[in-house]
Symmetry: none
Subunit: 219 residues, 2 copies
Amino acid sequence: MTDQTAKTKIVIIDDHPMMRDGLTMRILSQSDLDVCGQAATQDEAIELVKDSNPDLVLIDISLKSGNGIELVKRIRLLNTTTKMLIVSAFQESLYAERALRAGALGYLNKQETNEKLIEAIRTVLRGETFVSPDTTQRLVAQVLGKKPLANDPLAVLTDRELEIFRLIGAGFSTSAIAHQLFVSTHTVDTHRENLKKKLGVKSGAELNLKAIHSMLESG
Amino acid sequence: MTDQTAKTKIVIIDDHPMMRDGLTMRILSQSDLDVCGQAATQDEAIELVKDSNPDLVLIDISLKSGNGIELVKRIRLLNTTTKMLIVSAFQESLYAERALRAGALGYLNKQETNEKLIEAIRTVLRGETFVSPDTTQRLVAQVLGKKPLANDPLAVLTDRELEIFRLIGAGFSTSAIAHQLFVSTHTVDTHRENLKKKLGVKSGAELNLKAIHSMLESG
DNA sequence: GTTCTGCATGGCGAAATACACCATTTGCAT
DNA sequence: ATGCAAATGGTGTATTTCGCCATGCAGAAC
């Protein structure tokens, strides 16, 4: 078959029809790319991938039925060579990390231009990793904070740090935590500092956000 | 002028380029509708509306610079006959009510099909009110429940308070919010106080917790 | 045994933030 | 007009943050 007939096959998973249309339009503007299917839910997505065996799956991270990251894991289990690119409205590097660890090759913010979309798609198709620039910054900060991405970013934390991280996630203030652990607020403060360095966040508010999010995932 | 030359003029305000493309594509599929402009921020939107005097403005409710509802109010102040249709990723009738009170004629969920999009546009252009079916249900349930906006504690919040609540939920610190909204930290501070009173929480940490949780339910 | 390293602890001072109370302005409704 | 709600932001005090540094205490390395 010639290049004419063998376009790259892409499927789009997003629960907003209007967003699917936007993505589709930009992709179809490239002569060598083709959108061979769309779906709004995880189950539809799995069927679609099985049936059409696409080169790339574009996945919105905030799918209502489960979430996009869970879908990434399920697709990986299908044992295909299909590449995956996550599209997200969140800037947090938290999700980028999880998406990449789950098996996606790329993480793109919805705020990015359409040129970036195409760039991300082509990068991922080559088998390389793509992450939106501002999200990359946060990831880099994380790496500089200590070590190369391990299995779990929380793994780098000491027991005491993790304990405090969980208390933050439960909504306790610094003074409340200090009182609870019978240590001074200075101590909790220092731990908060170290947590921020290790987790690559720059403000206390972000640390709170990350801690609370992390609580919701693990119960 | 004939129908050929006098297409209905529509502008699109959304900070996701990909979403703008999707909306544009569907609108242009209608022979009598034309997209005469796009913008990502409030200020750009105001300029665009002044310059092109469109028949309809399509507004994403979750604009980063301020929010969609504030933009609706600002456009209404321009004293044009321009109709406004809010597009939202949130299903809460909470936002629909605010949007309509602010001066929008329609409220459409992003989960709706593209057929609904066109239907909503045409309804609003006729000067009638359009609200997405499932959101309508919630609105009706509210009215039947006698008390306006009964069980949702967020209902007692003003538009501004809700906006700040959402920014807190997104992980922004007080100063970051102040900078983003171009107001003093004192103002944000006062809003935080009022939020705590209205939501019945006693510490700032709890407010953060509540805001972040609330984001994850509806974001 | 000494040295090195990692962890928990916490003190210090400047800057930022929270907190409670209050004043002004604007818009809206009666 | 009068009254009310909303948004803005100022004041003063208390608390927290933030970066830096110091101590004590383990266990591992030499």
